[in-house]
Symmetry: C2
Subunit: 341 residues, 2 copies
């Protein structure tokens, strides 16, 4: 897909030098009104489009960014990707998407591939690697935005050390709303299905759950806290099955994400438990499917589109002015009560 007509051709036909044609089209330096008009006319006539590869080499800026996620086919990411895409597109940027499957080796490999391609910035959602290691791989100056489960975890001075902007969600808010909602319905025997031990979004949310329970004066039964082996429906099912086969079982289960929650729903059905009467279930994220399961899933809205916009804005800002202070953005999360709690 090569461009057949180059700046040289435009310049020749407009009777100016390539440099002048360049200046006229990009407005870098002032060009006589009349000349500019001629250049533009010729450019249009020949359907000239600048070769962004050559421009990238010269300007040392490619107007591309890398978006790294665990798996673009996972239901939460496409919405984020779309939002980022729309936002950076308005600035003339396009994005490469990299899938890492949560594998640290893959993260390094993909990051180096992107470095090879001289992307102008990186947005990472997946983080098998520590932020320090990521900063190592991308080099000291690459604009970097981290999508974290929740920003509260990282103290401000850490962020500054990482030289990264961070976008996350205020999980505490939604989780507290969820616990309050359950309590106001008289259900206080609340269990929790988290993700794999030590995985990034899961750990924080579990802590927020503990905080909310404590703040609201509810006891946490550690036997009712289960770690799923992943963030999928199947692993959620298995974890719930474990939990529900106990003689003393919780009357509500909160989950680290919606997929796990849907798995819990299925486990409840298979254990002849009515939802929400025998067992209330609350998810996290509000993926599109949440509205289509039956009963509709009560969940905590993770504003994917807003997260995407915030990431894009943070990255554009840093590319524009590399010296602005590093920022966390925490988007609010809220409970949406539907049919399962």
């Amino acid at each position: 897909m090569s461009l057949e007509v180059g700046l040289k051709d435009v310049a020749l036909r407009a009777g100016v030098s390539p440099a002048t044609a360049s200046n006229a089209l990009s407005g870098t330096r002032p060009v006589a009104e009349e000349t500019k008009r001629r250049v533009f006319a010729v450019a249009e006539e020949l359907n000239y489009r600048p070769n962004l590869v050559a421009r990238g080499l010269r300007r040392q800026e490619t107007r591309t960014i890398a978006l790294l996620v665990a798996d673009i086919a996972n239901p939460y990411y496409p919405a984020v990707a779309r939002a980022i895409h729309d936002r950076i597109g308005a600035h003339g940027y396009v994005s490469f998407i990299g899938n890492t499957d949560g594998d640290p080796k893959a993260e390094v490999r993909v990051l180096e591939e992107m470095r090879s391609r001289s992307v102008d910035g990186v947005i990472m959602s997946t983080m098998a690697l520590s932020p320090e290691r990521i900063r190592d791989v991308v080099g000291p100056t690459t604009p970097l935005v981290l999508i974290t489960g929740e920003w509260v975890e990282t103290p401000k001075h850490e962020i500054r050390k990482l030289r990264a902007d961070e976008v996350g969600t205020d999980d505490a808010m939604g989780i507290r709303e969820a616990v309050e909602h359950l309590r106001s319905n008289g259900v206080t025997d609340i269990g929790y299905v988290s993700g794999p031990r030590g995985s990034v979004p899961g750990a924080g949310r579990l802590e927020r759950f503990r905080d909310a329970m404590r703040d609201l004066g509810l006891p946490v039964n550690d036997a009712w806290i289960e770690h799923a082996d992943g963030y999928t429906l199947e692993t959620g099912y298995d974890a719930a099955d474990q939990l529900l086969s106990r003689i003393d079982r919780p009357t509500a289960i909160m989950c680290a994400n919606d997929l796990i929650a849907i798995g819990v729903l299925e486990a409840a059905r298979d254990n002849q438990l009515a939802v929400p009467d025998d067992l209330a279930v609350i998810g996290f994220d509000d993926i599109p499917t949440a509205k289509h399961v039956s009963p509709r899933l009560t969940t905590i809205i993770n504003p994917a589109t807003l997260v995407g916009y915030a990431c894009a804005d943070a990255l554009m800002r840093r590319i524009d002015r590399p010296d602005t202070p590093y920022e966390h953005t925490a988007l609010p999360t809220h409970l949406v009560a539907r049919g399962t709690a």
Copy 2:
């Protein structure tokens, strides 16, 4: 994200010329075993990575491709994107994703953007533009793969004229299985909710539906064929509502895609119709959500991953050998009977 160490640095430290270093690393020309070893050692030591932008300019090949879809956030595409991504990644390619929202202006804009970026090939799923117009915009030689709803529509000589490979699904197969399935359950009053009039995947599937009905000796009632205003749950709901409020209503509804089918499911519920007893519903695509609605959606499997692989393979083949004959690939579709029919 610039590379700080270049080929020059490697050459210098290895005591050879940049040309030799280049040849040693890429294997373009034979280099003395000993020299080669030294170059490789130094490259590793300095963590050298070739600048792919510079290489792209020089070789006139960027190892990037464009993937154009209507909306990456739509449930069917991410699976295709992931498959394409994995497959081309193995060949050292990465992809730009472009969203067109099914808008012809946007298609032209995005295609030109990609052309500016000298992508080595284009895979398009969305097609508001006619294939001829697409070929016009991308220029005569750009490797082009079209993802079509079904390949049967385009005669072979047309494809050759378009100089494009085409990947699609054999919709007739799955649709016939669906109609047979309904008939074997004794339901023959079958309606159909298609997409907007004239939209690409919808029109073909509706025709396949008519074919299957005719072949199986079932009458088609045109009053039971409704066109939704889009391919979404909401438009599907509205179309079904129309259909179900008739005094003579069908006892089964087949749909152009799963989202529409889920809308039909909701309309059935709101019309106090039991699924599948009062109304059988069959979707198309088998998006992840299909398994999670209740009852689980009976649908026709559109093998997204296989479609992605086929697209990637076709594109890689054409980039490799531009003169091979143009091909259609038709992936089989099959009914998966779950709870709604």
